[in-house]
């Protein structure tokens, strides 16, 4: 296994000011190796989603350093962060977060639209390949409302993969799915880790889901153990 692709050094994250300050992350130190599959387990509100947001640069930490694939996301300007996210990170969210008025195909391809380094044909080829990979090719022209929860999540996984990022962040990816569909989604994620060597960080409150990971970390009251 290669060296760490994600490093957190003394990361704190606080919300609010003065007496109303709430510490969502307390002195978090973490190394995640390339190709690892880490589950962060903890009850709701323990700070595990905040951990993902901080690792991805969606939220700035109050203090500490966050390195993603050797890039310190705490030092990058707001202007350059989207580029880092697009190149290095794929996201899968609990509520799928698909664009309602785009089809499954367009939702996936939309990640590539801002890229002018690849041709329209290449964008199409990549999107179709990803749709095939998540077994959604036949439903490519359906809008999110016409898809089941499991299908929407597969589209969301496709969207996370289409840029071929080395890291996949999953925030309660099965939270809105029934257990069987959830298991299928987790199998897809585990397969991506196994076959594509993607580094996966999955946060969940469910011990059963964490079993899919190679390594489990526990989080409670903002402290990672």
């Amino acid at each position: 296994m290669a060296g760490p692709i994600i490093q957190l050094e003394g990361v704190n994250k606080e919300y609010g000011k003065g007496k109303n300050t709430v510490a969502a992350m307390k002195d978090v130190n973490l190394n995640i190796d390339a190709g690892d599959f880490v589950a962060v387990l903890g009850p709701s509100g323990c700070g595990k989603s905040t951990l993902l947001h901080v690792m991805s640069g969606l939220e700035a930490p109050s203090s500490g350093r966050v390195l993603v694939d050797a890039v310190d996301v705490t030092l990058i300007s707001e202007r350059d962060l989207p580029k880092v996210r697009a190149q290095k990170i794929g996201f899968v969210f609990q509520s799928f977060l698909l664009i309602e008025n785009l089809t499954a195909y367009e939702n996936i391809e939309s990640v590539l639209w801002p890229r002018n380094d690849i041709t329209k044909q290449e964008q199409e080829n990549r999107t179709l390949a990803v749709l095939r990979e998540v077994d959604m090719l036949e439903r490519r022209d359906h809008f999110p409302k016409q898809l089941s929860g499991g299908e929407q999540q597969r589209v969301a996984i496709g969207r996370a993969l289409v840029n071929d990022p080395p890291i996949l962040f999953c925030d309660e990816p099965t939270g809105n799915l029934d257990s069987k569909t959830g298991e299928n989604i987790l199998k897809i994620i585990a397969q991506l880790n196994r076959e594509k060597k993607m580094t996966v960080v999955l946060v969940t409150h469910n011990q059963e889901i964490a079993k899919f990971a190679k390594r489990t970390l526990n989080m409670k009251d903002g402290v990672l153990r």
Partner: protein, 152 residues
């Protein structure tokens, strides 16, 4: 979006008729276009907040979301223009040709805008649209990517 196209089409007709029939009040009609266009631009950036924040989560930067908002505003205003154009020039002309001029006189008095007024109106509406467009693009840049996640 359809509702806005219709609103814009009505705006085109009102402003075109105002500029033609009451040239002394041109400022009022351009002012009306400015108010409608600005409200629309604000609403677009408001309605698209969820989409914008999702796009930002998946790696779009501010310039990409500005193009998205600009595209929508331009699309709506030009579609409305083409709609009025179609009605005034082609559909009414065709109806008059087939059923006789007398049969379309009533509709003509409500919907018809002559070509020159239409392009003059287009010019004024584009001009009135600019401040709202800049405002909506700026508002789009202010949407944090975290917004969609917080609404989960």
């Amino acid at each position: 979006m359809l509702a806005f196209i219709l609103i814009y089409a009505i705006l085109y007709i009102i402003v075109a008729r105002g500029l033609t029939n009451y040239p002394g009040d041109w400022l009022s009609y351009v002012g009306l276009a400015f108010i409608v266009a600005t409200i629309y631009a604000i609403l677009v950036s408001q309605f698209r907040r969820r989409d914008i924040s999702i796009f930002k989560c998946i790696g779009w930067d501010n310039s990409n979301v500005m193009i998205l908002v600009m595209g929508e505003v331009v699309l709506v205003s030009f579609t409305a223009f083409l709609l009025v154009f179609q009605i005034s020039v082609e559909l009414l002309g065709l109806a008059a040709y087939i059923t006789g001029v007398a049969s379309v006189t009533g509709i003509l008095s409500i919907l018809y805008v002559d070509i020159i007024s239409m392009f003059v109106t287009l010019f004024w509406i584009i001009l009135a649209q600019l401040p709202g467009l800049v405002l909506s693009m700026w508002r789009a840049t202010q949407v944090p990517p975290m917004r969609a996640l917080r609404e989960e």
